[in-house]
Symmetry: C2
Subunit: 418 residues, 2 copies
């Protein structure tokens, strides 16, 4: 079944509002296994809207439209859709009575134009609006096609879609609806092209579930997707492919679906009863911020040291002045001393420290912008240091630095220090 | 002149991304006085996309499309548009060389498919991409019509539109080019409705420049916009209105256009040669992160204390244990002690401290989620404390906390403690 979305409203064409209904309805239809080939936006103009509905009905089985169902003269969608469906409008006494009651409950008189909202195309099903006055409509058209009209405000459209349109469409697709089932594997410490290389044969041989990589700042996601009659049936098709992927690059998978790296690291720390601390120069508080983005992070995080100047590194973390003088603040010796100092000062189990040049200024030929040193110290293990050469804007470099620091904690916890 | 927007991308039809480009481009075209009658979204399918372009070219003068300009096989927009315009694709040597250089600078080899991005329809103008590899294209078609292709990522599309498409369209609309001139006034410590109330007569009497308020998390922006033959002429129309606004609420304006609050505060600190420090509990490093987002912040920021636990507040900042025991960590006495402790430990001129309940758990009837205490200590002035009742998600509450902390520093520096 092919669906098409039509949005009616001059405010969309003027950019006055963001069309969040387009994303919401597309997501919902994908989850129902209904293909969407087109989305269209048209203004409050009768002739143009009529042409759009006629075209949509020509090429799609279900036309879902939102907006323009209100009481005023520029709310044209009901009339346009009735004409496209070839079904005359009739006054629905029940809706009319409900509208009157709605206004009475609020101590207001119903103005005449509000009665327009009680007009229903002959043979159409009425979809109740729990949050406003304009009901939705499902209008059967020739050839088994249907137009579904929904109100524009998202807080009216969403409950109406979930309560009334989903059952309607499920019946229309004939009992066994196909749900889109997806599972996103989140990778760290491997690039998009290296990941594709490692999985090339799996990706090319595999068409169901489909496998799509997405590069994010400092990490890569791989989305496995299939359509099935139930979530369980879909998962049963996805999991063997996931297992094959895990067999090759499983140690790079830190989480599934919406799990963030900081949540995954937090989970490991909590599980093991360990406390972490951070000593941050170029990231300036971002690592601590990401760790504490997670509710309940107080179970494993107490102290963070933002040591932006050399004085702060000496005073808060006991980094020797000679070290800073001899090598500058961006070197592996300094981050090692920062991590050890933070570990002791916080009485933590693990400390991660970063120092680098986030730019746009401050680079030198030996240490260009993007040079970042990371150090990790832990009770009972030696200090582990790394130097990275990152790229992008100041914000990108800081984001990647924080991601790499979190990734180091993860690798340390999993015994994957390299 | 009538424009039509076409968005190419299966990810839009699946609802995987929100189409913010639709709103952005519609707004921009409205500001240029160009009517938009239709927006369309189509997937990465050659035949369907070709039909959409043909239809758009039939009924509109300018077709602006975004997405599908990348290097891979499913990036079809360039080919489809060239066919719709009836202009064969040719390899553009200069773009090809630039692409190669782009990859070389990053120490990567350019794979063959990347060369697709150097294909240009005969006679098309190339729009330079400052942020990515795929250039934009302006393709003249029959009858004075034109197709403009832009990349999908908003951070590439927006600068390209403003730098290259606006002048191009201005020339196309003929003769006296009208430039959109805007100036955004950024307000802090005043809500959207209070701001509208204070400026109601100015806003209603004023049609050129137009005045539009936008509520942001914790702040409000007011955009003044006009069309003029030169930026200077536009500014001459805007500035008297800005002066009238400043006469009423000028002390709430912290910056113009893209100046962030942290940049404005940093500028004040640098100007006065003062150093600031932060002591953060519920914001967990976010205030330090925002301060150090600004290049050159090392001129006024050295130390940050992330004291997430009570132990950290005692050990790093010398907050008395009795205080924490008597009142809990979220109270004005504790943030006062935190600010004084940070001021001393960092040897700074100003210290701001925050402690609160960011949620989703941890609220009590007396101190519900969103209760946040802020304290500011400064050399030679008393301690200033405030208790706020914030709302929204954990992330919202933390964002607003950081914004309010920065706002307190600003008010202290400007002698506006209330």
């Amino acid at each position: 079944m092919k669906a098409e979305l039509v949005f009616v409203g001059t405010e969309l064409l003027l950019g006055e509002i963001l069309n969040t209904n387009a994303q919401y309805l597309s997501q919902q239809l994908a989850l129902l296994g209904i293909d969407v080939y087109y989305q269209q936006v048209v203004g409050d103009n009768y002739d143009r809207a009529r042409a759009i509905f006629a075209q949509a009905l020509e090429r799609s089985d279900v036309v879902i439209a939102s907006g323009g169902l209100g009481p005023t003269m520029d709310d044209i969608t009901r009339d346009v859709a009735a004409e496209a469906a070839g079904r005359p409008l009739e006054l629905n006494e029940q809706i009319h009575a409900e509208l009157k009651a709605w206004f009475e409950r609020r101590g207001r008189t119903m103005t005449e134009n509000n009665a327009r909202q009680a007009l229903v195309p002959e043979g159409a099903a009425v979809l109740h609006n729990d949050r406003g006055t304009a009901p939705g409509l499902a209008i059967p058209c020739g050839g088994g096609k249907v137009i579904i009209l929904l109100p524009g405000p998202p807080n009216e459209l969403r409950p109406m879609f979930e309560r009334h349109v989903v059952p309607y469409l499920t019946k229309l697709t004939g009992g066994a609806p196909l749900a889109l089932v997806t599972r996103t594997l989140r990778f760290i410490d491997i690039g998009e092209s290296a990941l594709e290389e490692a999985l090339r044969d799996i990706i090319t041989q595999q068409s169901d579930p489909s496998i799509a990589p997405y590069a994010k700042t400092g990490e890569v996601h791989l989305r496995l997707a299939t359509k099935a009659s139930t979530p369980e049936a879909g998962l049963a098709r996805i999991l063997p492919v996931e297992q094959a992927i895990r067999g090759r690059v499983g140690h790079h998978i830190y989480g599934i679906d919406s799990t963030s790296l900081e949540a995954a690291v937090g989970h490991l720390l909590k599980e093991r009863g360990l406390h972490v601390t951070v000593a941050e120069s170029c990231s300036g508080g971002l690592i601590a911020k990401r760790i504490t983005d997670i509710p309940g992070s107080s179970a494993y995080f107490d102290f963070g040291f933002v040591t932006y100047s050399n004085t702060a590194k000496m005073r808060m973390l006991g980094v020797p002045a000679e070290l800073l003088e001899a090598h500058g603040a961006v070197c592996e010796q300094v981050v090692a001393a920062m991590a050890q100092g933070a570990l002791a000062a916080a009485g933590a189990d693990i400390a991660v420290a970063v120092s680098g040049i986030a730019g746009p200024d401050g680079g030198t030929p030996e240490k260009p912008v993007g040079t970042v040193c990371l150090g990790l110290a832990a009770r009972g293990s030696g200090v582990w240091t790394r130097t990275l050469h990152l790229w992008g804007s100041r914000a990108d470099i800081r984001d990647r630095t924080a991601t790499q620091a979190l990734a180091m904690i993860r690798r340390h916890l999993l015994g994957q220090r390299v």
